[in-house]
C-alpha cells in the first residue's frame, strides 16, 4: 500500500536529486547530462566570487532571521493576551479573524498589498499623509522599506495562525497551579510570569528550533509577488535568484549549484533542529 506513494516520491523527489550533478558541470542543454563538461567545484567558486550571489545570501539571512524571531514572539505574546479575554464571544471573534490571512495566497495578498501601499493613493499612504501629515512612503520601491514591508507583512499574515499551538499549550495548564498562586497572593501579572510563561517555554522551544531549519527560506512566494527591479539589490533572496538566473537567464549549472548550496545547508540545519527539539522538549515528528 506504500508503493503508489513511493512511486510518486521516486519520480518527483528522488529523480531530481540525480539532476544535482549539473552543479558540477558546465551544463549545456544540447549536450545533456552525460555530454556536458565536468567543471568540478567551479560553479561554487563562482558563487562566492559573484557580488550579486553574496548579496543574495545576505538578504536571505537578514529577512529570514527577522521573520523567524518575530514569528516566534508575536504569536507567543498574542496567545497570552488572548488567553486573558474571558468573554467567549470576543475571544472567538478575534480568533476567527486573525487566522484568516494564513489561508490566503501571496498572489491575493500581494495584489492587496501593492494596492494598499501604493504611493499614488494607496490606503496606507492616504492615512499617513492625511492623518499624520507625513510624506508618502515608497514601501515597495525602496530597498530598506521593502525589507521592512516584507518582514512586517509576513508577521501580519502568520501571527494569528502561529497562536494555535500556544493556545493548545495554555489550555493544558493545570488550573490548580493558578488557584495555589492566588492563595499565595500572586496577582495576575505574577501568575503570568511564574506559571503561564514557564508552561509555554517547551512549546516555544519546539517552534523556535524547528524554524531554525528554515533560515534559508525567506519566503519565495511572498518576495516574488511583491518585488520589482527597483529593490532587487536588497530584496532578492536565494530562491528568487535561482529562478531568475537559471530559468530566465538559462544559467542552469549555476542555478543548480546555488540551489544545492541552499539544500545542503538547510538539510544540516533541519537535522540539527529536529535533534535539538527532541533533546530539549522531547518532540518527534512521528
Amino acid at each position: 500500500m506504500v508503493l503508489p506513494s513511493l512511486a510518486f516520491l521516486i519520480i518527483f523527489a528522488y529523480l531530481p536529486m540525480g539532476g544535482l550533478v549539473m552543479a558540477f558541470q558546465d551544463y549545456k542543454p544540447w549536450l545533456g547530462l552525460t555530454g556536458s563538461e565536468w567543471v568540478g567545484l567551479d560553479q561554487f567558486r563562482y558563487l562566492f566570487e559573484r557580488e550579486d550571489s553574496l548579496q543574495v545570501i545576505w538578504n536571505t539571512l537578514i529577512i529570514a532571521i527577522f521573520k523567524m524571531v518575530l514569528n516566534l514572539f508575536a504569536p507567543f505574546m498574542f496567545a497570552i493576551l488572548l488567553n486573558e479575554i474571558r468573554k467567549q464571544l470576543v475571544k472567538r471573534f478575534v480568533q476567527t479573524l486573525v487566522y484568516l490571512p494564513h489561508f490566503l495566497s501571496w498572489v491575493i495578498l500581494g495584489g492587496i498589498l501593492t494596492d494598499l501601499l501604493s504611493t499614488e493613493g494607496g490606503l496606507v499612504n492616504r492615512i499617513l499623509t492625511g492623518v499624520f501629515g507625513m510624506e508618502p512612503i515608497f514601501f515597495l520601491g525602496n530597498g530598506d522599506w521593502f525589507r521592512f514591508t516584507v518582514i512586517l507583512s509576513d508577521v501580519w499574515k502568520e501571527f494569528g495562525f502561529g497562536t494555535v499551538v500556544f493556545l493548545a499549550a495554555l489550555a493544558n495548564i493545570n488550573p490548580s497551579l493558578y488557584e495555589a498562586a492566588e492563595v499565595d497572593g500572586a496577582n495576575r501579572w505574577k501568575q503570568t510570569l511564574h506559571i503561564t510563561v514557564p508552561s509555554m517555554i517547551p512549546i516555544a522551544i519546539v517552534v523556535g528550533t524547528l524554524a531554525l531549519g528554515n533560515v534559508l527560506n525567506a519566503g519565495f512566494d511572498q518576495i516574488f509577488n511583491l518585488y520589482n527591479s527597483l529593490v532587487y539589490s536588497k530584496g532578492d533572496i536565494i530562491d528568487t535568484f535561482v529562478y531568475r538566473t537559471a530559468i530566465l537567464n538559462g544559467e542552469m549549472g549555476f542555478g543548480t549549484a546555488i540551489g544545492l548550496f541552499k539544500s545542503v545547508i538547510s538539510f544540516v540545519l533541519v537535522v540539527i533542529s529536529y535533534r535539538l527539539a527532541y533533546k530539549l522538549a522531547n518532540y518527534r515528528i512521528f
Binding site: M1, L97, V107, G111, L123, V242, A246, V271, I285
Partner: protein
C-alpha cells in the same frame, strides 16, 4: 479573585481593545478590496474609496465574469483542486496505514518511513526538478499541476498519527473475522477516520487553489493557466508584454475595480471553506502534533 482588582480591569479593557484592533487589521485590507470592487470606476480611480463602496455597482464583476480567459482559468483551478485533493487523500490514506504499524508487524517500515521523511528534509532544488518535468513530458500538460505534488508527506504523517490513535481492538477483531488488510482499511479505518480525512481534504484544497508557481513555470499558454497563475500574471506582473492578450482585455485588466473584483473572486473559495476549515484545523494540528 484577581479579575476584580481595579488594575486588572483597566488592563482588561485595554487588552480587549488592542486585540480587537489587531483582529480587524487582519481583515480590513480584504474589506477595502471588496469596497473598491463594488465602487464605480471614477471613484476607485480617484482613490476616495475606503471601507465602504462609493456609487455601488456590480459592473466590475460583470466584466470579470464575461472574460473567457478568466472563466476557463477558473474551471482549470476547480478541476485541479478536485482531482488533486482526491489523489492526495487516496495516496496519504493508503500509505499511512502500513506506516502506522509497529516495526514487528511491518518489516522494513522504518526504511519506508525514512524514504518519505527524507524528501521533507532534502530536495534537488528548482532546476533539477524543472528538468525532470521536462524529460518526462509533463510540460504544458494539465497533469503537471496535479501529479508532482500528489504525495504530501506532511499530510501523510498527520494521517499516520491519527491511525495510531485508533483502538487496536477494532482492527484485531476485523482480522480475526477474516478480513484482509484492504478490507480492514476500507471497512474499519475509513469510517472512523472521516474527521481526519475532512481536515486533510481542506488543507489540500487550500493548497491546490492557492498554487500558482507551477502553472507559471510549466504551462506555456496563458489561456491554460489555473486561476491563481492567471491572477498572478494580471494582478502582480505589471509587464504584460509576454501575455497573448488582445488590447480590449488589456484595458479591462488595467482597471482598478476589475482588478479588485478578480482578487476578491480569487479569495472567495477560501473565504467559503474557511469556517469549516477553522473548526477542523485546531483539532487537526494538535492531532498531528506541532507543524512548522
Amino acid at each position: 479573585m484577581y479579575h476584580k482588582s481595579p488594575s486588572y480591569r483597566v488592563f482588561n479593557i485595554f487588552n480587549t481593545v488592542l486585540l480587537i484592533v489587531l483582529a480587524l487589521l487582519c481583515v480590513i485590507p480584504l474589506v477595502h478590496v471588496l469596497a473598491v470592487s463594488l465602487s464605480a470606476k471614477a471613484a476607485a480611480d480617484a482613490n476616495i474609496v475606503g471601507l465602504w463602496p462609493v456609487d455601488f455597482t456590480l459592473e466590475a464583476y460583470k466584466k470579470t465574469t464575461s472574460n473567457p480567459v478568466f472563466l476557463s482559468s477558473m474551471w482549470i483551478a476547480v478541476k485541479r483542486t478536485v482531482i488533486g485533493t482526491f489523489l492526495t487523500l487516496v495516496l496519504a490514506f493508503l500509505a499511512a496505514y502500513p506506516l502506522s504499524k509497529e516495526n514487528s508487524a511491518f518489516r522494513g517500515r522504518n526504511v519506508y518511513a525514512w524514504l518519505f521523511v527524507f524528501t521533507m528534509l532534502f530536495n534537488g532544488g528548482l532546476v533539477p526538478f524543472y528538468m525532470v518535468i521536462q524529460k518526462i513530458g509533463l510540460m504544458d500538460n494539465f497533469w503537471v499541476l496535479v501529479l508532482p505534488g500528489a504525495v504530501n508527506v506532511f499530510l501523510t504523517i498527520l494521517m499516520l498519527n491519527f491511525f495510531r490513535g485508533v483502538p487496536k481492538e477494532l482492527e484485531e477483531a476485523a482480522l480475526i473475522d477474516g478480513a484482509g488488510h484492504f478490507r480492514t482499511l476500507f471497512s474499519i479505518y475509513l469510517p472512523v477516520s472521516l474527521p481526519a480525512i475532512a481536515t486533510l481534504a481542506l488543507f489540500s484544497m487550500v493548497f491546490h487553489w492557492n498554487s500558482w508557481f507551477d502553472g507559471l513555470l510549466y504551462i506555456g499558454d496563458p489561456k491554460r493557466y489555473p486561476l491563481a497563475t492567471f491572477l498572478q500574471t494580471v494582478i502582480i506582473q505589471r509587464d504584460m508584454s509576454s501575455m497573448s492578450i488582445n488590447p480590449a482585455d488589456m484595458a479591462l485588466i488595467s482597471q482598478k475595480t476589475v482588478k479588485s473584483a478578480q482578487i476578491f473572486i480569487g479569495a472567495l473559495p477560501i473565504l467559503i471553506v474557511y469556517p469549516f476549515l477553522q473548526k477542523f484545523f485546531v483539532k487537526g494540528l494538535v492531532m498531528g502534533s506541532v507543524k512548522e
